[in-house]
């Protein structure tokens, strides 16, 4: 019966439905990119058809090197999703581990983690990512690293506050009475109960990471050509804005739709999972 109620709740959330649909669509595009793309995104470069306006067989036109933009946009979904998922997973793991342990162990460890979190919060994410990219140099793997270490402070703070309050709840105390150790209580009793907020933050974090990757690649400090990244495509498109504006349009639409889908999904999840805003919808 409860399941049925939840299902109806989901159906009444347009955000969740539309966001989930868009996200699923982008994931499908990324997975089936080789089957969907009419051309190879990197190797099918033909200078004879450079800067062809949209029209068959190049439905979204070609770039300056004569590569099919549609194919590059399709393959770009892989780069964006990979960056979003990998870096956000890293952020979530770091944030949750630090937050849980800080809330649970307290003492000097808590002070240290909170101090570090506050410092991280006062460094704008883009600036920190730029500093790491300056250290490591451009490239896809380095983007994973740079962004995987920049955005953990939110999940850390939320996890910590939840761990702090959960520490004294009856069921956690009961687990203690049963002889569960601190680590086991942390992971089996507290963690499962904060999956909701972490899921919301992570979904929004993936959207944020995709935007940030696009920005870094746009600046030339992210994913390097010829890898088809939406941000990098826009970076080169700027020079052809006057002669071939279509190069600037489609990668941007792709970023916009993907991020919009994830943001809607995150908002929808919040409406369902967050008890505070839930009351407003009753």
């Amino acid at each position: 019966m409860k399941k049925n109620k939840n299902f109806h709740k989901i159906l009444r959330q347009p955000n969740l439905l539309v966001g989930g649909f868009i996200t699923l669509f982008i994931i499908m595009v990324a997975i089936f990119a080789p089957a969907l793309a009419p051309f190879d995104p990197v190797n099918d470069a033909d200078l004879m058809v450079s800067e062809t306006p949209p029209g068959a067989p190049y439905y979204l036109g070609t770039d300056i090197q004569g590569r099919d933009i549609l194919s590059r946009v399709i393959y770009g979904a892989r780069v964006s999703l990979a960056v979003g998922l990998v870096s956000q997973t890293l952020n979530t793991i770091i944030g949750v581990l630090l937050g849980l342990s800080a809330g649970f162990f307290g003492g000097w460890w808590d002070d240290l983690v909170m101090g570090l979190t506050n410092v991280m919060l006062s460094i704008p994410a883009l600036v920190f990512a730029l500093a790491i990219m300056a250290l490591l140099g451009p490239g896809l793997i380095n983007v994973f690293i740079a962004m995987g270490f920049t955005n953990w402070s939110f999940s850390c703070r939320i996890t910590r506050s939840q761990a702090l309050s959960a520490k004294n709840l009856d069921y956690v105390k009961a687990a203690r009475a049963l002889g569960y150790g601190r680590i086991r209580r942390m992971f089996t009793q507290v963690l499962p109960n904060i999956i909701g907020p972490i899921l919301i933050i992570s979904t929004l974090g993936v959207a944020w990471a995709i935007l940030l990757e696009a920005a870094l690649s746009f600046l030339g400090l992210g994913v390097q050509p010829p890898t088809p990244s939406w941000g990098a495509m826009l970076s080169t498109a700027r020079e052809q804005l006057f002669t071939a504006p279509w190069i600037s349009i489609f990668p941007g639409i792709a970023i916009f739709i993907t991020v919009l889908g994830l943001n809607l999904l995150g908002d929808g999840l919040r409406d369902i999972l967050d008890p505070y805003t839930q009351t407003q919808n009753i």
Partner: protein
Amino acid sequence: MFGYAVRRLLQFIPTILAISLIIFVLLNVLPGNAALMTRGAQDTGTLTTQDIEEMKKEWGLDKPLWYRYAVYLKGLATADLGNSFLRHEPVSQLLKHRIWPTLKLALFAMLIAICLGVFLGFYSALRQGRIADTVTMIGAVSGVSIPQFWLGLLLMYFISVKLHLLPPQGYGDGNLTHIILPAFTLGIGYVALLARTTRAAVVEILTLDYIRTARSKGLSQLLINYKHVMRNALILILTTVGLQFGDVMAQTVIVEKLFSWPGIGSLLVDSIFQRDIPVTQGCILVIILTFLMVNLIVDLLYGVIDPRIRASYK
């Protein structure tokens, strides 16, 4: 209140120490790189190992990391940020010329964001559940999702290239026409964010008891909105503005690069490519300091808006 401000300023010191340490280690952990890249890039063939060693010595790069950090900190205390590897100019001088355009851009963008965002959020909250509300909120979630530099490219194309209404890029002589496009590009995401925050705040305030009281004693809706709703929503709006300002400062990096705006952001990107580490460090520090200062100002403004908070400054 004055004492509170001074105490807050003193709290900056450990924060800045921690930040400068993190940034310094991040940027300097690779040995020798800077010396090799600076003049080495110009004539790679003629450089011998001895030249490189001499250059390292000239810039103090032969010393251990902790020593260099200590020297850097000593300079920092007197606002000396070192010298640019490439430009042979003190970093503080470079930053001095660049800070004003960046601040101008960030403040303009924030102004657009506050005026438009608060208005839209308020309007949306008063029209809760109606079409105007839905449209505004769809617009807001779209605004948060749009990549700024792409929006900037589109604006550049349609407004400057097609319609010839505004100059496509550059600082010009600092007049208004040049700042409109970059400021709008930078501000649009925050318009959306502030619209959402304001709507949420106003929706909640409208359900509170003191609003009902105000209504029941016969105050006009306009007066209620202005005196009760707006004033109470301001705290949340102000907090959002303060927290987002660091982000705005950081995003100037992208917008400045796109519009060839001669500010801190474009200097930061250039210095990263040139591996001009003292300049990179200086830019990052200035961005973060501005962010901290803005948050201090926001904190002090709380006291101006809310007498309850003012009473707690002791």
